[in-house]
């Protein structure tokens, strides 16, 4: 087991393995998006309250879920990197941050567009769910800015890992904000004790989109980690040999 993990975490091995892994994420991801978008827009019935506006859920919920998932991946990798000093795990954390920031932006933007016709407002300052998600976007920005500001990779890894750990407290706050405080945002639809409060005809496209976004995120993250590994190993023998033999370009 440990031998396998060490081999996987070895930079040249991961660099060569990644391109073989990516299609296993991309292909199911694209197929599920195709089904999810079609079913979400045209097969699922309009909602009894929100009409067709509820279809925004098929972009909003997957991106909101990914924004938190990416953060957890970033924080856990950062912790593993700090404790076990595994080079690859810091690369994972660094690669997850920009992707997480993009999906946080997408969750906020689609939520805003959804809020305008339904709630009657683009944005409400002081709403706990909206505010905590916005704070997460700024934590992502802070994480990336901190990394960019420190030239020494090892120091950047350590400092940014601590920031990632501190910011992790926000993730449960985002999730439970609608339970702990009064909010304009409604409570959880999917993660409930008594099962999803959603018609199956609307639920399946949503689950497909969540799975699709997860696969596509997996593909993007794998590619990002690979580039991060290449950059970190730029002065090593194996990279020099690889580049001289004109391999591993894409």
């Amino acid at each position: 087991m440990w031998k396998f993990i060490h081999k996987l975490a070895s930079p040249p091995h991961f660099y060569n393995l990644a391109p073989k892994l990516v299609p296993w994420f991309t292909v199911p991801g694209v197929l599920l998006v195709a089904y999810g978008v079609y079913a979400g827009l045209f097969l699922a019935p309009a909602d009894y309250q929100q009409g067709d506006a509820f279809r925004i859920i098929y972009i909003h919920v997957p991106s909101a879920y990914l924004s938190m998932m990416a953060y957890m991946i970033m924080a856990v990798s950062a912790a593993i990197g700090l404790i076990w000093r595994i080079k690859l795990s810091h690369a994972v954390a660094a690669a997850a941050a920009p992707l997480g920031a993009w999906f946080t932006f997408l969750a906020l933007a689609t939520g805003s567009i959804w809020g305008r016709p339904m709630w009657g407002t683009w944005w409400e300052w002081g709403d706990p769910r909206l505010t905590s998600e916005l704070i997460m976007l700024f934590v992502y920005f802070g994480y990336m800015a901190l990394r960019a500001a420190i030239d020494d990779t090892a120091k950047a890894d350590k400092a940014s890992a601590v920031l990632a750990l501190v910011g992790a407290v926000n993730v449960p706050i985002i999730h439970f904000s609608v339970e702990w405080w009064s909010s304009l945002h409604q409570g959880a639809t999917l993660l409930r004790k008594d099962g999803p409060a959603m018609d199956p005809s609307m639920l399946y496209p949503l689950l497909a989109m969540i799975l699709a976004f997860t696969f596509l995120f997996g593909a993007l993250l794998t590619r990002r980690i690979r580039t991060e590994v290449l950059f970190r190993e730029r002065r090593t023998r194996w990279v020099k040999d690889m580049v001289l033999s004109a391999k591993g370009r894409n």
Binding site: A53, I56, A109, R223, R249
Partner: protein, 53 residues
């Protein structure tokens, strides 16, 4: 065509789906361009250094 108007919510719904597609495309393009840039920088440096490395 009727289904595309989304019962007067078309502008909201479509802009969200288009934005979702754009974010995925941007992430894809960014991953590609970053990989090329990092690889090219290494290539240039190795060629400049020649046998010194």
């Amino acid at each position: 065509m009727e289904g595309l108007t989304m019962g007067s919510y078309g502008a909201y719904v479509w802009s969200c789906f288009i934005m979702g597609g754009l974010v995925l495309l941007i992430c894809d393009w960014r991953a590609r361009s970053l990989q090329r840039k990092v690889y090219r920088d290494i290539e240039v440096r190795i060629k400049a250094l020649g046998d010194e490395l």
